[in-house]
């Protein structure tokens, strides 16, 4: 075997085509894909779900399953052709020279094996290391990935660790053999933003420390900007644009890349005067791809007869280093032209008070112990929540998993009853009324849009029937004919064709299903809608359209929207007021501008810093939170955030560890739950600054 020359590409993919073979037909998943990763470089692969980015990663690992096959092209790793390598040789490369980090850490770790054993296995296979030495190495790598108490972790089972810790273990496992290439497949998608920020920092540092090349797959452009040197944008099985991150972000030369950037909420976008521009149409199914340019049917610059004539090749751009685009018209388009601004709408004034919570608490009792019994413990899911919401208003509820935002939604909806406190809905106290005891009028006025549109529709009922069913339950309409008419009107409202009434949910895309979910929620003329992460399961280009639809309906119906989300970008884009929750407490509440600019609650500050923003002009201060969110079963004394707060030393006398901070009113309608003095709070610097253009 010839020695590999470090100045050559470490990974070279040329004209790779991959197909999956089903009984019916061959489904091409990736077509004519080329990319090169140099030593020490990190390459980003971006695209929406189904664009083939994970398939490329698995092809590099040669793990395409029984149905997948590489039908053309080559993958060369350090000059060796992986596409024709024997299983034996592949096994030597997997895990030792190329390692992979996966999307779901919990599922990727063997549940019945101790973490230490799983880590030690790697050097034992690839370096013939003894068990004791391998364990010692595992212990060292665990501290390298900044996990506390390595000895305990080595002996732990995966389920005993938190999601962030599990992902660090998966990273540690990948690093055990010092691989030359690391493939990261959406490594942080399943994690919270503050945890994500820690993982991203870790990956960057380790990449620099060991000189590892990386293939970083993500749908999140902001993360790519944070981590990668180069990126490759994929659309429907093809690479459409490749180049340096800065070039592609600032001087994109493919209409899809441009459309993608215009559909994500960047700072400055605003639902009223600078709305997002959704990409029209839907992603083509693999066997229904159009002739010529795949993006053609959705492209603003489409020219009939030219763009749909023949397959479009990659074109190398002049003057720039390795910047390529798969667009015929890249030289003719005026890339600097500002986007056509959609409708500009007026901000609606908040109306009457419709929802008022006072000192709401929700506790759960659980038992511990492997065989039942054990001490009874109380989970304090919600602690003294007080806030109001008015007509026409969008109130965002922000926080990481375990902060109690979903419990709050359940208590509001009546799926759970409150332990203490009051919920005033219109003119009624509903804190003790479970949903079964609420009258249909009340139920139809307070509705919910769910996170996962794939699971919330009945798979064996037509779309129209499901909406009619909701109408019947809400006692809307006088006759069946009337309800059918109303159902069709609702479909119009959510901008779905009326013909969809006869379709089954499986025939709809994710965005379309979510629209059905919205139609169902508004069937009874809902006045308050709790939207629990309504767009987080959708692709970026669809998110904008669904979010704008919600805003349109809100304007028409004067609805109050409680928007639960962990995605601060979308929150900043569409909410009027923001409530930040941590461990069951409201730590900050104010208008969107107040919350997104100083003074901050220390947690809000860290949260803002953690959100990746896909804009090269944005400068962020990096604040990485250490550790995990404490368990709600055993919250820390005093301030809930004190265990991770970087400002704690600024408060004299250890007050944070002893007393729950009082609610401090900063400005009109802006409140912060913190012990910090007013001077310090006022003196905070903004986390995000936008450099002048």
């Amino acid at each position: 075997m010839t020695e590999w020359d470090p100045s050559q590409p470490i990974l070279e993919i040329e004209n790779l085509s991959i197909s999956f073979f089903t009984r019916l037909r061959e489904i091409p998943a990736v077509m004519d894909f080329s990319c090169t990763v140099m030593a020490g470089e990190s390459m980003g692969l971006v695209g929406e779900s189904g664009c083939g980015k994970s398939t490329v990663a698995l092809a590099v690992m040669r793990d395409l399953g029984r149905n997948g096959r590489i039908t053309g092209g080559s993958i060369r790793f350090k000059g060796r052709d992986l596409t024709h390598m024997s299983d034996r040789d592949l096994r030597h490369i997997r895990g030792s020279e190329i390692a992979m980090i996966y999307q779901e850490p919990m599922a990727s770790l063997n549940p019945a094996m101790r973490v230490g054993e799983q880590l030690a296995e790697v050097p034992m296979i690839h370096r013939n290391m003894g068990h004791a030495d391998a364990m010692a190495l595992a212990r060292q790598i665990i501290s390298d990935v900044r996990l506390p108490d390595p000895d305990r972790i080595l002996r732990a089972y995966p389920h005993q660790l938190s999601g962030g810790q599990q992902q660090r273990i998966v990273i540690a496992m990948a690093l055990m053999a010092r691989p030359a290439l690391l493939i990261l497949d959406e490594p942080t998608t399943a994690l919270d933003v503050t945890v994500e920020a820690g993982i991203v920092d870790l990956v960057k540092d380790l990449g620099a420390k060991y000189g590892t090349s990386m293939l970083f797959i993500s749908h999140n452009l902001g993360l790519i900007l944070d981590v990668c040197d180069r990126l490759c944008v994929m659309y429907s099985g093809e690479a459409v644009e490749t180049g340096n991150v800065a070039q592609v972000f600032d001087r994109m030369r493919h209409p899809y890349t441009q459309a993608l950037f215009r559909s994500i909420p960047l700072p400055g976008a605003n639902k009223n005067d600078r709305p997002l521009i959704a990409i029209p149409g839907n992603f083509p199914l693999p066997h229904e791809r159009p002739k010529g340019c795949n993006f053609g049917p959705r492209c603003d610059y489409f020219l009939k007869g030219r763009c749909d004539a023949a397959a479009v090749p990659m074109a190398l751009l002049p003057d720039q280093l390795r910047h390529e685009t798969r667009c015929l018209r890249w030289g003719e388009i005026d890339w600097a032209a500002p986007p056509k601004v959609g409708r500009v709408t007026e901000k609606l004034a908040p109306g009457r008070l419709v929802l008022k919570l006072e000192d709401l608490r929700k506790y759960y009792a659980v038992s511990s112990g492997a065989f039942g019994g054990g001490a009874e413990q109380v989970v304090k899911a919600n602690e003294s929540l007080s806030f109001e919401a008015r007509e026409n208003e969008t109130l965002a509820i922000v926080g990481e998993s375990g902060c109690g935002k979903s419990t709050l939604a359940k208590v509001l909806m009546g799926l759970e009853t409150a332990t203490d406190g009051q919920i005033m809905l219109f003119d009624e106290n509903v804190q003790d009324t479970p949903i079964q005891a609420r009258n249909p009028d009340m139920v139809s006025k307070l509705q919910m849009v769910f996170q996962n549109p794939f699971d919330t529709l009945n798979p064996s009922m037509t779309v129209g029937r499901q909406i009619i069913r909701a109408l019947e339950i809400f006692r809307q309409g006088t006759s069946d004919a009337d309800r059918v008419e109303r159902m069709l009107t609702l479909l119009d409202m959510v901008k779905l064709p009326r013909a969809f009434a006869d379709r089954m949910p499986r025939q709809l895309s994710g965005g379309q299903k979510q629209r059905v979910g919205i139609a169902r929620a508004f069937a009874g003329g809902a006045k308050i809608v709790v939207a629990d992460e309504p767009v987080s399961a959708l692709d970026v280009s669809v998110q904008a359209a669904v979010a704008d639809l919600l805003m349109d309906i809100q304007r028409e119906n004067h609805t109050t929207l409680l928007f639960i989300s962990h995605d601060l970008s979308i929150v900043r884009y569409l909410s009027d007021r923001v409530m930040v929750m941590y461990l069951g407490h409201v730590v900050e509440l104010g208008t969107t501008d107040q919350v997104f600019s100083p003074p901050y609650h220390p947690y809000t500050e860290a949260l803002l810093s953690a959100v990746p923003i896909a804009d090269t002009r944005v400068k962020k201060r990096r604040i990485v939170l250490e550790g995990d969110i404490p368990s709600a079963m055993n919250p820390p004394p005093g301030c809930p955030f004190q265990t991770r707060c970087r400002w704690k030393t600024q408060v004299p006398g250890g007050l944070c560890e002893r007393e729950l901070p009082p609610v401090k009113v900063m400005a009109d309608g802006h409140q912060i739950k913190c012990h910090l003095s007013d001077d310090l709070l006022q003196g905070m610097e903004p986390v995000i600054t936008i450099a002048a253009e």
Binding site: M61, D63, R91, H92, I93, R94, G95, S96, A99, M100, Y102, E104, A107, S108, L109, N110, P111, A112, M113, E121, V122, I125, H126, Y157, H159, V170, M173, S367, G369, A370, F371, G372, G373
Partner: protein, 361 residues
Amino acid sequence: MLFFILRRSGVMLLTALALTFIVFFMTNLTPNLEKLAKSEASVRMSDDQVASWLDSHGFTRPLLARYGEWLGVVPGWTHTDASGRVTGRCIAPDRTTEAAPARCGVLQGEWGQSTVFKRPVSEILARSLGHTGWLMLWVMLVMVPTALLIGVLSGMREGTTTDRVLSTFAIATTATPEYVSGVILIVLFGSATAGISPILAEWGWISGRTLFQGTATSAMDKITFWNFGLPVITIALYGIGYIARMTRASMTEVMTQQYIRTARLKGVSFGQIIVKHALRNALIAPFTVIMLQFPWLLNGVVIVETLFNYKGFGWTLVQAASNNDIQMLLACSVVAVLVVLVTQLISDIGYVFLNPRIRLS
């Protein structure tokens, strides 16, 4: 853990009480008792004589009181006949009235007298359980490893020829009840005139006239491959199919899990993936099934022991049932209940150790 076992034992005790009461009630129905009277005293008794026999043997007392007597919590009945001779539940022929204890039931270790075998129930039960114990042991030793091997082999590469052949075998065996497979096996291997034994004997491959013996009676004295093979195979075959199917389903599911992909992409070889990563996870589900096989084996041995004339627990149960041996039946039911409940307790505890994620509550 201790609390869990205590609680489960409490539940077990209650279940055992309820079940034995049901059996007690069924075996003590009036026609049964009349039959007992006639078989014990005289077949040609008049109805009046039957009534007085029942009265003098304590069978006319209330049902609950008699159940209490059987348990040993209520004092046994006594009866003084016209001649002044005192008889009673606890007054054995060789005991005097004064020396007899007030209570004599299960709690005192007195299981009563078997009417069929004319011996104390405890003695018969101990002997037959001993025989069945050996049978079960061998069945388990053959069944569990074979079934797991078949299940793992067919499950690790779903859809291959190996998988299809082994799955067909598993389905065929589990679809054949013992009374069918037992007869077929006897014809095939245990007959001097049919099956393969005559051929083998002709070739001189076996010294006797048959490969296996068609009856297991001699196995009660000394277990050999020759006399014990067929009953063991008959029972094991059915269970093999069942457990193998469960193991296969569990194995195929595990093989699609992401942590198996992780192991594969770590460079672990296929054999090591199966042994180190898949096996423990795949055995969690079949473990419960294997534990469920114990009570089911009791049921299987009824047929097989009768078929092969092996005087174990199943054979005794059949004899007791067909001859209206009330005490024997009751004792058998207690054993059956205990076997079911204890194996389930073991299964639950074992489950916790096999699966680190599980928490019982």
